[in-house]
Subunit: 466 residues, 2 copies
């Protein structure tokens, strides 16, 4: 394959700009078309999540492209969840019993800008903004764009097209509407939507609450979370049903009702948010959806990657990490099969899809865990026990959360199967009093391992796949 | 609510004609628009499955509308599966250990004609053919139709619209494309497609092979099945991958290859099918898809029912039975909430969707079971044991298959949860030699019950839902 092959990337978000950088490093001619203006010049944060949780799988991609150190300077470590109850009491629940395992709050815009800057240092990478993709002809490997400013439409031709244009992907829509092949597709919405709010910095620029945690106000059927930003502010997100329960997005229509809701449910948060009402009515309410599809590619012509192929809900903090990991897996498949795009695309999907399906399901599990289980006594006991096991046996035990978040060399699917079996083992043994939090840890570790293996084996015999 | 309310039904297939009949019996003004010609006057069987498996859930609906006896005369009982191995050896595996439990082969066309005839006996029911629905305005409760013959388009208004227009539903498409509300939707295709073939009757009109069974040639990654028809023929269906394995639909392109495939894999079937090649190249290859969506209704205006709301793959023989059960459940909700369509539609979906989701998943499980597990020794042992338990303890034990097929007063979801737990219990106990097929049946029954309960309890504690 000639390195002079032309690759067209649709979308210069986090996945597209990382992919452009990596393919540029590999020597391809890369053209990226992005529908939004250049975020390094124009503030376009409105309506999108402002900060994200960055962890090991994302960092593995940063190592691949040589950006680990630069990204580190953008990160605020979060060592655990700071749980706020109805009375304003707090307690911290760490993400791991190992001190070096934590997640990071990072600005979407800063990270995207870094990747765009790095990509553009390669002469063979060109990025064009304000060009909206209207459709893709996946049989001819061409894409139709419209320039936002001039309104002119133009067609771009390429050897291959990779769409990293997010949950509302135009290429995916072209696959669906084209009906040229059997296209499996799902979009599943939660009953809940989300709205971003904020806790502003202190007047001196400091943080109003503890900086190095993910704050969470779990309330059973809804919740509030807050992640720190480098400027001392927190981005706060309310996850709430559209139409169920006493308070919901559909009936929080007046200042009075919004304040009443926060006074009742989140009094300590409200005290930090004098700007609540303004934020609430200025910012949009957005849906929470999961997208899965297959095939991701059409022959050796076009490929979906990142959210375009597998949009997930945000509750595992893995959306961006999964998209970055896509690029690592793709790069690895390229090492093996470069020269035959159809094989590359097929092998990539075959290798990758079982893992992105798994993280989609795990993220929905965590929706329930975060709003509900973190405040449930038996789940809290499990969590305590797992922290103790991870601390005492750092090389022998990892919780489901650790497997998913901190073990970048284990796929999401393997992490899910093992993690769910461990959870089931521990919850059942705690309930049956086979183990207790204050018991001998070595004995508990052995019992958990044994019971986890038995659960996995029983499922294998029954031919169960979950 | 005035009984003079106008109900528009889109689609006069099995579900639509049954619904029209039932709503006609309840006194509503019912108009049904069907895109095909009247199947009582024109043969339109091409490309659709010619016969179906009819069982208890479907029969419950026939009882509701007073047609149990008339339908019975259309039925050919099938007491079990007749399994054909590669060498032409056969053995029969019954569907139940209880003699009165069996399924029936029935002609789709004959059953549909009966329902149309019965519906038209009601003056308040009118059925129009050759009228294709092009779109539904679910906010105004109107539907746009086109007459096939005159090509004229016209709009029909109604108090409510119910779409029973199958897996490719126009109303569902209008929900999806309308983007007026969050619409969760999935279409999932199997890697396999199907093609209908036939075994013709003997010259004297008799059956060439045993009539009262479902014949099956399981071959691991593909299979052939045959269901009897009243005229002495069998409708044969080949389930095969589109593009995987040595033989697949994409590479079975010549007479020679088709014959070679059948000679090698299905020699005894081939001997009964001198018309194989002709059938193979005349009949279409069709995909196997599952459709799920939510919400099924828009306010109190429009509702999806039958395959339009939940298309499933055919491997549990439950597609038509599930659609008929929809009408029974809907009728029951009408008894409770008639007078408020929005409440009727909401309660109907809330009651029904968990069960149609379950049968969709069970049908996919059975795809693997039929082509693969029926020839697997441990699954055969399980099956033998379950037959013995059902025979010995008819009131105390029902297999998953029996729960799904013969227990119409248990919902699909409950049948799935209990049935899967039983399967897991038996397969694991057989593997661990905790029980054996020749053991004491009472002891085995007790162990199976106990272990099933333990599995369900463990899942409940772990918060698992499958």
């Amino acid at each position: 394959m000639s390195k002079q092959q032309n690759i067209l990337i649709i979308g210069a978000g986090l996945c597209g700009s990382l992919l452009a950088l990596r393919l540029g490093q590999r020597g391809f001619n890369v053209s990226v078309y992005e529908m939004r203006p250049d975020l390094r010049k124009v503030d376009i944060s409105a309506g999108r999540s402002i900060n994200l949780a960055f962890s090991n799988r994302g960092n593995k991609a940063m190592k691949l492209v040589g950006l680990e150190d630069k990204v580190k300077s953008l990160c605020i470590p979060m060592h655990g969840r700071m749980i706020h109850d109805e009375h304003g009491n707090t307690f911290q629940s760490n993400y791991s019993g190992r001190d070096h395992e934590y997640i990071n709050s990072i600005s979407r815009g800063d990270l995207n800008a870094l990747l765009l800057n790095e990509a553009e240092t390669h002469k063979n990478v060109n990025i064009y903004f304000n060009k909206k993709c209207k459709s893709v002809n996946f049989e001819k490997t061409t894409a139709l764009f419209q320039d936002y400013e001039t309104k002119d439409e133009f067609v771009e031709d390429a050897d291959i097209i990779i769409a990293t244009d997010g949950a509302g992907s135009t290429l995916r829509k072209s696959y669906y509407l084209g009906k040229k092949f059997l296209f499996s597709f799902s979009q599943e919405y939660l009953t809940h939507g989300y709205k971003e709010l904020s806790i502003l910095p202190k007047e001196n620029g400091g943080f109003k609450v503890h900086k190095n945690v993910l704050h969470i106000w779990p309330r059973g059927s809804f919740m509030l979370i807050a992640l720190p930003n480098l400027d001392g502010s927190f981005t706060v997100t309310l996850f709430l049903s559209y139409d169920e329960g006493e308070y919901n997005f559909n009936n929080l229509t007046t200042e009075e009702r919004v304040l009443e809701f926060f006074r009742k449910e989140f009094p300590d948060a409200l005290a930090l948010m004098p700007n609540l009402v303004e934020d609430f009515f200025e910012n949009p309410t957005a849906p929470l959806g999961t997208v899965k599809c297959s095939p991701w590619h059409y022959k050796g012509n076009t490929l979906l990657m990142g959210d375009a192929a597998h949009a997930i809900v945000p509750f595992y903090g893995q959306g961006m990490n999964a998209s970055f990991e896509d690029v690592v897996v793709f790069d690895n498949v390229l090492d093996q099969h470069e020269g035959n795009w159809e094989t590359v695309f097929r092998e990539y999907e075959k290798t990758r899809k079982i893992d992105t399906d798994a993280i989609a399901d795990l993220a929905i599990d965590n929706f329930h865990e975060m709003k509900d289980h973190v405040a449930n006594p038996i789940f809290q006991e499990k969590r305590k026990l797992e922290m103790a096991l991870e601390k005492e046996f750092p090389d022998e035990y990892s919780s489901k959360y650790s497997l998913v978040t901190f073990n970048e060399n284990i796929g999401y699917r393997e992490a899910m199967l093992k993690g769910r079996a461990q959870d089931k083992a521990i919850l059942n043994m705690l309930t049956d009093k086979d183990i207790e939090v204050k018991g001998d840890l070595k004995r508990i570790l052995d019992k958990v391992k044994q019971e986890t293996e038995a659960i996995l084996e029983d499922d294998r015999i029954a031919g169960l796949k979950h």
